[in-house]
């Protein structure tokens, strides 16, 4: 091999290695590398009547990020401020706190020593309620009652079980009552069920919001989804 050819290979070799080594660069998904103004806070809150959980995922142009560099999330529920604990959901970082319940709206704070803080994000929570069911004996219809919220966004009731097609009712007006006749509880196509039949009814109120974190452009966003969900078991003998 001539000296010239050897010199060319010596120069081009490292370039080729670098080119292929650099293919598909994967971003380091940490909050240190993300501006507060590029963040998307995705807040999911659920109170199922026995316990509640608040989850926050921090989205960004490089995907869900882990809080680093002293960044921390706090939730203030019922006047008490708590740090949110890091976990994993679907392979992405999630920040959570466990509670006995969600009595009302709560606040979120994202504190960042090297970037803009986000203070006092209000997460609207629908009012809690107690769900009761009666009837469904002999020819009586299935009657649900709960604490009404006429000013609220509505309620969704789902009835499911092995002996019926799943039934969903969305009520735009939350009056606190719903009556379902036995004829409406249709058996699945496989044929009539064996009695008795176990049903499960779930009522849920949800408030979903989307707001900007800052008044600048871009200003980041916060998506909230807060749900009050109650589930009861019913036995039906068709």
């Amino acid at each position: 091999m001539s000296d010239v050819r050897r010199a060319v290979l010596l120069l081009l070799g490292p370039l080729a290695v670098l080119t292929f080594a650099g293919c598909g660069l994967d971003p380091v998904r940490v909050s240190d590398r993300v501006s507060s103004r590029d963040m998307l806070l995705d807040v999911q809150a659920l109170d199922d009547g026995s316990a509640a959980v608040i989850d926050v995922q921090i989205g960004s142009p490089i995907g869900a990020v882990e809080l680093t560099g002293g960044d921390a999330l706090f939730a203030t529920v019922d006047g008490t401020r708590r740090p949110m604990i890091e976990g994993q959901r679907n392979g992405a970082p999630v920040y959570s706190i466990q509670l006995d319940g969600l009595p009302g709206d709560f606040l979120l704070d994202l504190e960042r020593p090297s970037d803009r803080d986000v203070h006092g994000v209000v997460v609207e929570v629908p009012p809690p309620f107690i769900l009761a069911a009666e009837g469904l004996t002999q020819d009586l219809p299935l009657s649900f009652t709960w604490d009404p919220d006429p000013e609220g966004a509505g309620v969704v009731i789902v009835i499911q079980g092995g002996c019926i097609d799943t039934m969903t009712r969305s009520l735009d007006e939350d009056t606190g009552t719903l009556v379902i006749t036995q004829a409406e509880l249709r058996p699945p196509p496989a044929g009539p069920p064996l009695a008795p039949c176990a049903l499960q009814a779930t009522a849920s109120r949800t408030i979903t919001t989307r707001d900007a974190l800052f008044s600048t452009t871009p200003g980041g966003n916060v998506l909230t989804n807060a749900e009050q969900r109650r589930t009861i078991a019913i036995t039906w003998t068709p």
């Binding site: 060319v8 120069l11 660069l25 971003p27 993300v34 501006s35 103004r37 142009p61 090297s114 871009p218």
Partner: protein, 214 residues
């Protein structure tokens, strides 16, 4: 009077290229390929890694009509392979000063220059509207034999017309035999901008192969 005296010293009695053995003049054509990798800004201030390649044809003339004073121009045209852009063009010019030149077992010279340039933005994620910049340069040339030439040049751009603070550091080291030379060129582009304000750095590295015309 002082300025006139300085001009007299710089221009000297005879042009440097008239048989001057210290090799301050350099006319060259070269091809340069580079791999680039760094962090670009997305949104208000998010660091996102990126990479790509670039390929240029470059032509440079460094000439000294007077003994100590001359000019240095460099033009390049090529392709930059990133999602933001492909065509690339730039031209730079500088007033050059040769404060040192010597003859001995190894002949050589040092050239300093101050000037400016214009072209498309680098790194390319800054945009493709065109920009301008000042620059400072220094070049060391060594000729251990008549047929062997080494030169290393460093170009520094302290700022550009782009938003934020953009600067670049460009180092080229070459070795050549007769009319031909091979080299390695590395470049670092630093951009400080965004919210929060932070550093976005791009590295370029690749070979050069060229021809010394004069």
């Amino acid at each position: 009077m002082g300025a006139l005296a300085l001009a007299g010293v710089l221009t000297g009695a005879a042009p440097a290229w008239a048989g001057d053995p210290s090799h301050v003049s350099l006319w060259r054509l070269e091809m340069h390929a580079a791999y680039l990798q760094g962090d670009q800004r997305i949104g208000a201030g998010t660091l996102v890694p990126y990479n790509g390649w670039a390929f240029w044809g470059r032509a440079g003339i460094s000439e000294f009509p007077w003994k100590w004073l001359g000019y240095d121009v460099l033009a390049q045209i090529g392709m930059v392979g990133t999602p933001q852009g492909n065509f690339d063009v730039a031209a730079e010019g500088a007033v050059a000063f040769a404060p040192a030149r010597w003859k001995g077992s190894v002949d050589g010279s040092i050239v300093l220059g101050v000037g400016g340039g214009f072209g498309f933005e680098r790194p390319v994620w800054l945009g493709r509207a065109g920009t301008a910049w000042p620059l400072a340069l220094v070049r060391l040339t060594l000729k251990p034999k008549n047929s062997i030439r080494f030169f290393a040049s460093f170009r520094f751009t302290p700022i550009t017309a782009d938003p934020g603070w953009v600067r670049s550091y460009d180092l080229e080291v070459t070795g050549g035999y007769k009319w031909w030379y091979l080299g390695l060129r590395g470049r670092m582009d630093d951009v400080t901008q965004g919210d929060p304000e932070r550093l976005y750095r791009t590295y370029w590295l690749g070979p050069t192969a060229g021809l010394v015309i004069r």
